[in-house]
């Protein structure tokens, strides 16, 4: 087995038939996440020199899609852990990379905290402050909807610092940190979404990634690019799960004396879902190819993949519920989860509208 296949098998085994139960309970058992973390599944791209599995972007993408077919809540936890690891890998000093990435491949859980009550799509409005005080920094702010933060040992918090910005590694147990789970999220219900309050949180200055102020735009764009790719592949997983469920049902269920699949209007749904799966997969493969080859095209390709995959996932999930009808309309079930989870994918890591604004710029560049 390749390393990717080995990790995929591990995911299948850990999830088993429990995803529906996790969705209904709104939580994944912490020991499950720790076990997967210890095996390096949650951030499988971390290089071997830091204790990780060193998967390529493409292999990690397919692994993420596999997680997405099983459980989008777990996949969201992977996205968070992976984004935290990537931010540390890019912005951390040599010492920070060695120490912190090793922790994230040994079972420690991490999340990232971007959004605030007044800073959603407009991250330039981030108001969380990081202030120098001798050998310490002091953080104050309010973060919202930080996925996986309810499970996390450490948060990568994005805030204003000196004349720019910084990402700071904040232990969730540090005095002044309050993690307040979102009571009943619409989708990815077991992903540990939470608001985070930072009240005079004092940490050693060595917790500031790179030890210096950086540009907020560059910082968030680089971190979010990993997240966009991860969400895009997760959406491929949602589409695949929906397609399998719908095709299985359409073959087995008979109405008017023949299987649903032989009714043309149902067959069209299946064809459209198949197109969605293929289209989203190809766009994700292209974007991950750009990632692996360090192509400058990456920034646009990742937005395109995320936008298209999320839209396709939302349509495919809706079609799957339509085909399964009453059999799909039970909470916790595969297509019911997909229906709710896919909607959130059209919102996070760049809403539909933000992605469209970026893609429209690409369109206009052609004629300047």
């Amino acid at each position: 087995m390749t390393p990717r296949e080995e990790l995929a098998a591990l995911l299948s085994e850990e999830v088993g038939d429990r995803a529906g139960g996790w969705d209904l309970a709104g939580a994944i058992p912490l020991e499950t996440l720790r076990r997967l973390g210890t095996e390096g599944v949650l951030c499988a791209e971390v290089p071997a020199e830091f204790g990780g599995r060193g998967l390529s972007g493409l292999d990690n993408g397919e692994l993420t899609a596999h997680a997405g077919t099983l459980c989008s809540s777990l996949r969201s936890v992977m996205t968070s852990q992976g984004m935290a690891a990537w931010t540390i890998q890019r912005f951390g000093t040599r010492e920070q990379r060695a120490k912190e990435l090793a922790a994230l491949t040994r079972g420690d859980l991490a999340a990232v905290a971007f959004s605030e009550p007044q800073a959603g799509s407009d991250l330039s409005a981030i108001a969380t402050t990081v202030v120098d005080d001798g050998d310490s920094v002091v953080l104050n702010g309010h973060k919202v909807w930080s996925t996986a933060s309810a499970y996390a040992d450490v948060l990568v918090v994005f805030g204003r610092y000196q004349d720019g910005a910084a990402a700071v590694l904040v232990p969730t147990r540090a005095p002044g940190v309050t993690v307040r789970p979102v009571p009943q999220p619409l989708g990815c219900r077991a992903a540990g979404h939470a608001d985070v309050l930072l009240d005079d949180v004092r940490l050693p200055a060595t917790r500031v990634l790179s030890g210096a102020s950086v540009s907020l735009g560059l910082l968030t764009t680089i971190a979010l690019t990993y997240g966009r790719l991860s969400v895009a592949w997760g959406c491929v997983g949602i589409i695949r799960a929906c397609l399998t469920a719908a095709a299985t049902h359409a073959r087995a269920r008979e109405q008017f004396g023949k299987p649903l699949a032989e009714h043309q209007l149902v067959a069209r749904h299946l064809a459209e879902m198949y197109v969605a799966e293929q289209t989203a997969t190809r766009l994700c493969e292209h974007a991950s190819g750009c990632w692996d080859s360090r192509s400058a095209e990456l920034s646009g390709a990742s937005v395109l993949a995320k936008h298209a995959a999320a839209g396709h996932a939302a349509h495919a999930a809706s079609a799957a519920v339509q085909i399964l009808a009453s059999a799909g309309s039970v909470d916790g079930g595969t297509v019911a989860r997909a229906y709710r989870d896919a909607k959130l994918m059209q919102i996070i890591e760049g809403s539909e509208e933000i992605c469209q604004l970026i893609l429209a710029e690409r369109a206009l560049e052609r004629v300047t």
């Binding site: 102020s213 950086v214 540009s215 735009g217 560059l218 192509s295 990456l298």
Partner: protein, 93 residues
Amino acid sequence: MSNPTADRQLTAEGVAAELQKFLRERTKTDWEPDTDLFASGSVSSMFAMELVVHVEQTFKVAIAGPDLKIDNFRTVNAMTALVLRLARADDTA
């Protein structure tokens, strides 16, 4: 990547010329070596990341940690200095 020194005859002029070519292609504008790319507001964060990735790929350098500060990408001259410094550090590593 395995033998970075073999084709690593980087000169300031060569690096600057390549960067100006890339900027011209992507922004349809000519950039003086000391013009602030970000001052006008026409260059976005998305493009800043494109620059990072492009510089890494083209000159086979890894830019991480404190080197990712925006000042290193603000002008053609700043990027050229960064590339030459990282390439030298690589060669002596």
